[in-house]
Amino acid sequence: MQISMFNQTFELPSDVLAAWIFTIIAGGFVLLYVIKKKKLPLIWDYIRTTNHRKIGTLYILFGVVYFLRAGLDAVFIRLQLAFPDQSFWVFQQEKYNEVFTTHGTIMIFFSAMPILLGLMNVAVPLQIGARDLAFPFLNAVGFWLFFFGALFFNLAFFVNQAPSIGWTGYAPYSLNEYTPGVSTDYYVFGIQLSGLGTIFTALNLIVTIFRHRAPGMKLTRMPLFTWASLITSYLILIAFSVLAVALYLLMFDRLFGTAFFSGSEGDPVYWQHLFWIFGHPEVYILALPAFGIFSDIIPTFSSKRIFGYPTMVVSLALIGFLGFTVWAHHMFTVGLGPMANTFFALTTMTIAVPTGIKVFNWLFTIRGGLLRMTAPMLFALGFIPSFVMGGVTGVMLSVSAADFQFHDSHFVVAHFHYVIIASTIFGIFGGIYYWYPKITGYRLNEKLGKWHFWLFLIGFHLTFLPMHISGLQGMPRRVYTYGADEGLTGLNFTSTIGAFVMGAAVSIFLWNIVITHRRGVTVGADPWNGRTLEWTVDSPSPEHSFDPMPVVDQMDPFWYAKQEKRQLAICANPRPAPPDEQSMIPISMGLSLFVLAAALTYSLYWLAIAGGVGIFVLMAIRSWTDRTIIEEEEEA
């Protein structure tokens, strides 16, 4: 379809048109609901909030929205691949490139990352007895940077400029020469904005964990989710800083005439190095928090202390460290030479050791425990065998000589979906079921939760197990069709059925949320008979939590206090809490950078200057109005 506007003709494919119509209708319904239920004050409150639970909720909410959008992309991919020589709707050739690019990019940067950061925001302060993150204002800034970065990236599709460079953005395809339009700029700026927000949040979490623990909460008594968040935050600081520079250089290549990644003067492989120095730790940034979630869920529902706590912490740290030494295993076929390939093959295999330690520790925690098969526990139990399967194919891929066969085939697609879905997505679902009472005060319906789990588990294996075989039979990734005579039809059709089963599971999850809120049955502070400090505060967690401040005398303090039928000791004068405030500045900062990004994308330099001036003015206002003096203390 073509539309004439402002003396220009726009090409508007039917999928974009459908997205516009759907968004307008859905937006209308949301608006109606907001007005009818008088939710505007609530929205106004959340826009200005700096409270960790509320920001965590926002992270999770938008993460789930983008999860649905990227999930829809996945469904389109599977429909296009359902039959040989198929032409489903518009998703062939360039459109297919767009749909797998947005699927990957959104799932990783705008869905998995924010939901994990959201869960950290909600749970970490409550687990260690902190009243908020160390810098609540910065936390809000981090969220709004993610929000506007994600919005910017997603808008590309609505103007029919979705990036088509893969989530890896490989040069030279991502350079002006091959993608001359604005589509790749949406990728560059969308990820840059949200990546900066992620760095700030990681910094915030580290300071919180080091300086805001309750009295007696030694590092060696911390819940493992907090440990995982701490180590993940370190990985984020390093990996996302490198990514920020990689995108900065790519921006210069695209907009300001440099040639770092070009084939003529620069080096396209340099992009690959920078990207994977970020990208491989990113895999652990996604996986470690999930490991942490399971390490909290499994002891809770096994009614047992975690097995081998010190080795759990050490293996987290080892995985984090080794994660920085393996990046070139994504580049075995580039031609780095046998020495480099051998080095990276060995380091990659080494990672299996600490991961194996963790798996055995989870199993030994379950062994002999008093098990309760709740929804979060089911996700944890489903995770272990599924993730191990992904780990095993990972070791296969690390054999660099064999990787020449596996590379860029559906075998790799199967592998990374096995590890990421089994760890991150199962972890996210488990974590949402587990902490939902702490976020909202309601507990999600257990029966629907079990349906959700089983359908998702079955759908997941149905989708990705056949890809191992189709990959080994030679089906390449990122190619939009295959021939009828290639023996891939049955495998691909099975995968498509699996994708729909997963879609059904996610629908049940959404329905579960709807009916849980409609029924509105609130639960108390400790619905799961928990072990750690977050179950001592009310559900949902109050804005002024831990008043009075508990004193921690051992690991799992709440559990042992309950066992011995005593109260946790109380600390009379805890350290001052982080300043509690409401502010419009964080969202305005995000908006300024959004304007800056849009202006640079479309080379509107006057607008870019306006956006840049905006951000500095907002910083100055913040500096002028910031109150660091603690009012209560002055009175006292």
Binding site: A134, F135, L138, I199, L203, N204, I206, V207, F210, R211, H212, L237, I238, S241, V242, A244, V245, A246, Y248, L249, F252, F256, G257, T258, A259, F260, E265, G266, D267, Y270, L274, R575, P576, P578, P579, F616, A620, S623, W624, D626, R627, T628, I629, I630, E633, E634
Partner: protein, 190 residues
């Protein structure tokens, strides 16, 4: 600062040190980029365009501005407001002089026709040294804010915190400049 303020300030101190760590990684990546692409196959050799005079002059102003900032910090600690203001003012002047020299250097290259697209060497030079100059410019603006907040007696404790955090930033920017001297300029001037 009261006891509570010191605790909150230590949070900020740690947070800002971590932030400087992030910046270190970013600059390290840019230094690596520069080393990979310099000298470039085409375009002028860095030895032909760098000059001792420019480097020494701008280094003199930027590096001694760290010393004058220490003077200001001493004034802050000992409560001598005159020393504080004088030190900060000279730091501001030196920072601005450095920026002026950078602009002159960049524009002389541009006049010779060497922009970002002249060669990958020039590209990696501009993204690194330009980002550093942007940090100096940001620091100059920050000092401007500090001067504006100087008179706000009510927020004396807050001013002290801001001043101290700024010092960490400014010294960090100087350390990066030493890296630029050693890695970007000196190997091609010797």
């Amino acid at each position: 600062m009261t006891q509570g303020e010191i605790v909150i300030f230590k949070d900020k101190q740690l947070g800002f040190f971590i932030y400087l760590g992030v910046e270190t990684i970013m600059f390290a990546t840019l230094f690596a980029t520069y080393m990979i692409f310099t000298p470039a196959e085409k375009g002028p050799h860095p030895a032909d365009i760098f000059e001792w005079k420019t480097l020494l002059l701008s280094s003199f102003f930027l590096l001694s501005s760290s010393g004058t900032l220490m003077m200001s910090e001493k004034g802050l600690r000992s409560g001598r407001k005159g020393l504080l203001v004088l030190g900060l003012f000279i730091t501001l002047l030196f920072g601005m002089t450095f920026l002026g020299l950078e602009i002159l250097e960049f524009s002389s290259y541009l006049q010779q026709g060497y922009g970002t697209s002249a060669s990958v060497f020039f590209g990696s030079f501009y993204v690194l040294v330009g980002l550093h100059a942007a940090h100096v410019a940001f620091g100059v603006g920050w000092m401007g804010m500090l001067f504006l907040q100087l008179g706000r007696e009510k927020h004396a404790a807050s001013f002290e915190q801001k001043h101290r955090i700024f010092s960490y930033y400014w010294h960090f920017v100087d350390v990066i400049w030493i890296g630029i001297m050693v890695i970007v300029y000196i190997p091609y001037l010797l």
